[in-house]
Structure formats: structure tokens, C-alpha cells
């Protein structure tokens, strides 16, 4: 019996000769990651363990991005703990404000993630890097502490689900719509404990940034990891980065023809239109055209899900020469400093500001109700982020609708949920 790509990568990171779903393994990690919310607890556990050093100074990554630039004194202290720890243990990949970006946009952008690697992060959206053909999954702070010391993590080998995307993408449909469609189909626990493998002719043509968006939200279906087999798009993406510390394009794995899957689902992408996940679960998915009566108070374009340059380009295309509806707040947050600079150089920042939006420094900020756009009681937002749980962006009585950047931008102009065609 053959292996899936997920099983192959996991096996390569153990001393075992074979591997099967359901088995518990101790696996070597190529990278472990924490942020200003999760790393402070990991640091406390690291110290409780009495460790004197990290297993590899180049394989620990600390990014203060959630409440940074520090939103209050308590958050400043948490960020400071990352800085102090990084200095004390000579962590190579610590990113101070000015260099930091939203972690899951930052790491692929600077070439810290390669195909075939095994990455854990104390952040649930660590599953993003599966887009590059790596096994990558979210864990807790204690896991991060243990990995920083031992270089290993315990894992249960997941069963794999295969999702085949046929046909062709419609206009204004992107990776966000494909993953919302998938979550809407299988539910928020439809892939619980399992690997989600995305393939098919649509995926083979899908740009890397859309692939990152798809794998990013695997967790929203309960998935352990999302993964896409590396191909020319992957190789071209990695070659364009030129990280001298990590030359090459990594190890390319693909699922065997006789690999065993928990289930296989096939979608005809010609039938998928721009979608919105309504409150209060990412699986509560409806087509945009069914929601045109829903008025909004705020629009957020950003996050590890849709804060990349291609997302900002799409939003700017809609907003060019238009104005944000009076009484609506538009908050655009490029996910990294490079994206920020590119957006300035390409004239996108001007388009957002001319439209009446704000253009902010990188941060996770409002996505998790941290800062930079918290919702008041009863307010409603449409956002390119990943979660719309009760109270996610602020007051427990506020509401969040999730969409792609084109729909979010069109909605900012109309002051209600709108299809991009209504604005163009």
C-alpha cells in the first residue's frame, strides 16, 4: 500500500521504517514557531524544564505579531519576553516590529519554509505552509516549549482526505472561495484530526498566494494540516525568494497512486461563485448574491489568510476611483513590511487612502479582536480573515462575515455585502 504526501513527510522525520494513520510518533521538527500570545507560556514552560539552550538557534522562530506594535502595557510585556528570550538564547529568527509581519505571511515570503519540511507552530494557522508541500500544523505552547528543547514533537499520524477541484475558476473567485466552499460542504469538524490534500486541475493552475489561503483555513474544517503537492508553481515561488541560508527547493514528495484515503471529494469549480461565511461559524457559507441586504459598519482586508500583495491588488482594482460608503470604516492591513512597501510602490496605498480607508502597519490586530479595529456592540463587519465566531472581532454581540478581498472591497463601497460586479 502506498503513502500519501503527508504520511511520506512524517515518515521521513522519524526513525521508523513504516507508518500508518492512527499511530503515535515522535517526529523531528525543521522549524518551530511562536508569537506574542503563545510564546510567553512556552518560555515559562521552557524555563520550568530547566533547559539551558534551544535545540537549534536557526530552527526556532519568534514573531510578535498578534498584539504588536504593542497595544497596551501588558501586551508590551509579552512582546518584551520574546525579545529577551531571543537575545538570551541567540534565536536567529526573531522579528522585531519593523521587520515583523503576520507570521504565516512572513515565513514563506522570506524562504524559511521549504517543501518536505515538518513545521509546528503555537498558532492554529500554522497549517498555511502546506501550500508549499510541507507538513505543517498548529500546536500548543507546551508543545512549542518541548520542541524548543528536544527538536521533536509527538504526533498522531492523520488519515488523509482528498479534495479534487475540477473545471475552471469563475471571475472574482479565488482560493478563499474554494476553501469556504469546502468548509461549507464538510463542516467545521469535517476534517477533524485529518490531513486535507488539495489537488485537481484548478489547484495545478492556482497561484501560490491562493494556495496559501486555502491551506491556511484547513484548521477551520478541523484539519490537522492542509497540503498541496509541490510543482512548478512551488519551485518558481521558492526560487524567486533566494534565501541564501536555505538554498534549493526542498524535498518534493507526492502521494502514491495506491495511497489510502479516508475519503475523496470532487468539486466542479465552474459552479463555485464568490462566497461569504456568515456568523458564527466558517461553515455557514452562502453565495454573495443571497446576502445583498446585509449592511455593514466595517471592512477589514488583511490577515494571514488574505493580507498578501495579490489580495491588496484585487481590492485596489475594485476601489480605484471609488469612495468607501459614508459611515463605513475600511481597514487595510498588509501582512508584512515587504507587502506594505510593494503596495506603496504600486500605488495601492494611495488608492485605499483616496477611497477613504486606513492603511495600517502589519499586525494580526482585528482578526482576533486584538486591536486596530475592534467592533462595538451590535456592529457588523465583512472581513478577509479566517474566523467569525461569537465575539471574534470584539463585542460578543457584534458579527463577522468572511469573504475574499474583492467582495470585501465591493462591500466597502456599497455599505452592504456586495458582489464585485456591482461596483466595477
Amino acid at each position: 500500500m502506498g503513502y500519501t504526501i503527508t504520511e511520506k513527510i512524517l515518515l521521513k522525520h522519524t526513525k521508523l521504517k513504516s507508518i500508518h494513520p492512527g499511530e503515535f510518533i515522535d517526529a523531528k521538527v525543521d522549524l518551530c514557531l511562536g508569537n506574542d500570545i503563545t510564546a510567553p507560556i512556552a518560555i515559562e514552560e521552557f524555563e520550568r524544564l530547566g533547559a539551558k539552550k534551544v535545540f537549534d538557534k536557526k530552527k526556532v522562530v519568534l514573531v510578535p505579531d498578534h498584539f504588536a506594535p504593542a497595544k497596551d502595557m501588558a501586551s508590551a510585556n509579552q512582546c518584551k519576553r520574546l525579545a529577551t528570550f531571543s537575545k538570551q538564547y541567540e534565536i536567529k529568527h526573531y522579528f522585531e516590529v519593523g521587520k515583523m509581519g503576520v507570521e504565516h505571511a512572513l515565513l514563506p515570503e522570506i524562504g524559511l519554509v521549504l517543501p518536505g519540511e515538518l513545521i509546528i507552530g503555537a498558532d492554529s494557522h500554522t497549517c498555511t505552509y502546506g501550500a508549499l508541500g510541507a507538513f505543517s500544523t498548529g500546536v500548543g505552547s507546551t508543545d512549542l516549549a518541548a520542541a524548543m528543547v528536544t527538536g521533536e514533537v509527538w504526533l498522531k499520524v492523520p488519515e488523509s482526505m482528498k479534495f479534487i477541484f475540477h473545471g475552471k475558476l469563475g471571475k472574482w473567485v479565488g482560493g478563499k472561495d474554494l476553501i469556504l466552499h469546502t468548509i461549507g460542504d464538510i463542516g467545521v469538524d469535517g476534517a477533524r484530526y485529518r490531513a486535507m490534500e488539495f489537488c485537481g486541475e484548478v489547484i495545478e493552475k492556482l497561484p501560490m498566494e491562493d494556495r496559501l489561503t486555502m491551506c491556511n483555513m484547513a484548521i477551520e474544517a478541523g484539519g490537522k494540516n492542509g497540503i498541496i503537492a509541490p510543482d512548478k508553481i512551488t519551485a518558481d515561488y521558492i526560487r524567486s525568494i533566494k534565501n541564501k541560508a536555505k538554498p534549493g527547493i526542498g524535498k518534493v514528495y507526492a502521494s502514491d497512486k495506491d495511497a489510502k484515503y479516508h475519503s475523496v471529494r470532487e468539486y466542479d469549480c465552474r459552479k463555485i461563485e464568490p462566497l461569504v461565511a456568515c456568523p458564527s461559524l466558517p461553515s455557514n457559507v452562502k453565495p454573495v448574491r443571497a446576502l445583498k441586504d446585509v449592511t455593514i459598519d466595517q471592512v477589514v482586508i488583511g490577515s494571514c489568510t488574505n493580507g498578501r500583495i495579490s489580495d491588496l491588488r484585487i481590492a485596489a482594482k475594485i476601489l480605484k476611483g471609488k469612495k468607501v460608503k459614508h459611515g463605513v470604516r475600511l481597514i487595510v492591513i498588509p501582512a508584512t513590511q515587504k507587502i506594505y512597501m510593494d503596495a506603496v510602490n504600486e500605488g495601492l496605498a494611495r488608492i485605499f487612502i483616496d477611497a477613504g480607508g486606513v492603511f495600517s502597519t502589519p499586525t494580526c490586530g482585528p482578526c482576533l479582536g486584538g486591536h486596530m479595529g475592534i467592533l462595538a456592540a451590535g456592529e457588523r463587519a465583512i472581513s478577509t480573515t479566517n474566523r467569525n465566531f461569537v465575539g471574534r472581532m470584539g463585542d460578543p454581540t457584534s458579527e463577522v462575515y468572511l469573504s475574499n478581498p474583492a467582495v470585501a472591497a465591493a462591500s466597502a463601497v456599497k455599505g452592504r455585502i456586495a458582489h464585485p460586479e456591482e461596483v466595477r
Binding site: 503515535f24 500570545i37 503563545t38 510567553p40 507560556i41 515559562e44 514552560e45 520550568r48 524544564l49 530547566g50 498578534h66 498584539f67 497595544k71 497596551d72 501588558a74 501586551s75 509579552q78 507552530g121 503555537a122 498558532d123 492554529s124 500554522t126 498548529g138 500546536v139 500548543g140 505552547s141 507546551t142 508543545d143 516549549a145 518541548a146 528543547v149 528536544t150 509527538w154 467545521v188 469538524d189 477533524r192 484530526y193 484548521i219 478541523g222 490537522k224 461559524l281 482576533l368 479582536g369 486584538g370 474566523r387 465566531f389 461569537v390 465575539g391 471574534r392 460578543p396
Partner: protein, 161 residues
């Protein structure tokens, strides 16, 4: 281990944003986190919960963010264990790693009502519902996890291991 307490009922897909909202994640202090435990699912929970009480929920408990503050706040609030039809995976491993007992049982999740008095015995593998005079059998953890639990969590198991 055996625990006794009253059941606090919750539904499906209780996520970590409801268990401990991000507005309280600028601290790692266990007592401060306990004060806001389950706040966006039941704002009176932290006030009403008593040491030994049990959270009983539907499917996919603990979905969403990886924040370990969620099980930490539950444990620090005095909750002895969490029973659910199913758990989200990061929450599940966080509980194992910090030593918060969790029990996956469809039967217990369906039959236990709010306020029922429960006796949970993880060694004997059963939950007794004193109020309803029922007993639910529970599965034992796989040996790999039992080892971590027995050692008192992942960090302790590494210290002794």
C-alpha cells in the same frame, strides 16, 4: 483519578474564542484567565463554577485557535474534567500536555443534563450520573497518552523521561 461535581452544559463547536476571548490574552496569569473562563459562551460561568465541577459539551469542543490559555483557564477555574462528544485536535493535545482530564463520550454528552451531579473515574473507565442514576462507560486513552498523563503533563514527562 476520580472526580465529583456538577455538570455545566454547552452545545456544539464551542471555540477557544468563547472559552477565553482574545481580549484577555495579554496575560499568562492562571487566576486572571480563570476569571474570564467560558465568558463569551456563558458570562456567569466563572462566578457559578465550583471546584470539581465538570464541563459537558457537544461535538468539536475547543475548535479554533491554539491558545493554551483555553484549557489553562478551565483548569484554573476549578473544573475537574471536560466531557464532550468530540474535541478539536489542538485543544485535545493541549489538555493532554497540561494534564487537564478530558473524556470523549457520545453517550455521556447526550445524556448528561445541566446541574447533574457526576462522579468521573478515569481509572475504572466510567462516569456515574448520580442525579439520573446512570453509568456511562468511557474509553481509556491510548498508552502513548496515558504515559504523558501519568507523568503529569508533557513537561513533567520530559523532566523525568
Amino acid at each position: 483519578m476520580a472526580y465529583r461535581g456538577k455538570a455545566h452544559r454547552f452545545g456544539d463547536d464551542i471555540n477557544t474564542d468563547e472559552i477565553i476571548p482574545a481580549r484577555y490574552l495579554n496575560t499568562t496569569n492562571k487566576e486572571d484567565l480563570a476569571k474570564h473562563c467560558m465568558e463569551d459562551a456563558d458570562k456567569n460561568f466563572a462566578k457559578n463554577v465550583k471546584a470539581g465541577d465538570v464541563i459537558v459539551a457537544g461535538k468539536n469542543f475547543g475548535c479554533g485557535s491554539s491558545r493554551e490559555h483555553a484549557p489553562i483557564s478551565i483548569k484554573a477555574a476549578g473544573v475537574s474534567c471536560v466531557i464532550a462528544d468530540s474535541f478539536a485536535r489542538i485543544f485535545f493535545r493541549n489538555c493532554i500536555n497540561i494534564g487537564l482530564p478530558i473524556i470523549e463520550s457520545k453517550e455521556a454528552s447526550e445524556k448528561i443534563g445541566p446541574g447533574d451531579t457526576l462522579e468521573v473515574d478515569t481509572v475504572a473507565g466510567k462516569v456515574r450520573n448520580i442525579t439520573k442514576k446512570e453509568t456511562y462507560k468511557i474509553e481509556k486513552y491510548p498508552p502513548f497518552m496515558q504515559k504523558i498523563i501519568k507523568m503529569g503533563g508533557l513537561i513533567n514527562s520530559l523532566r523525568r523521561g
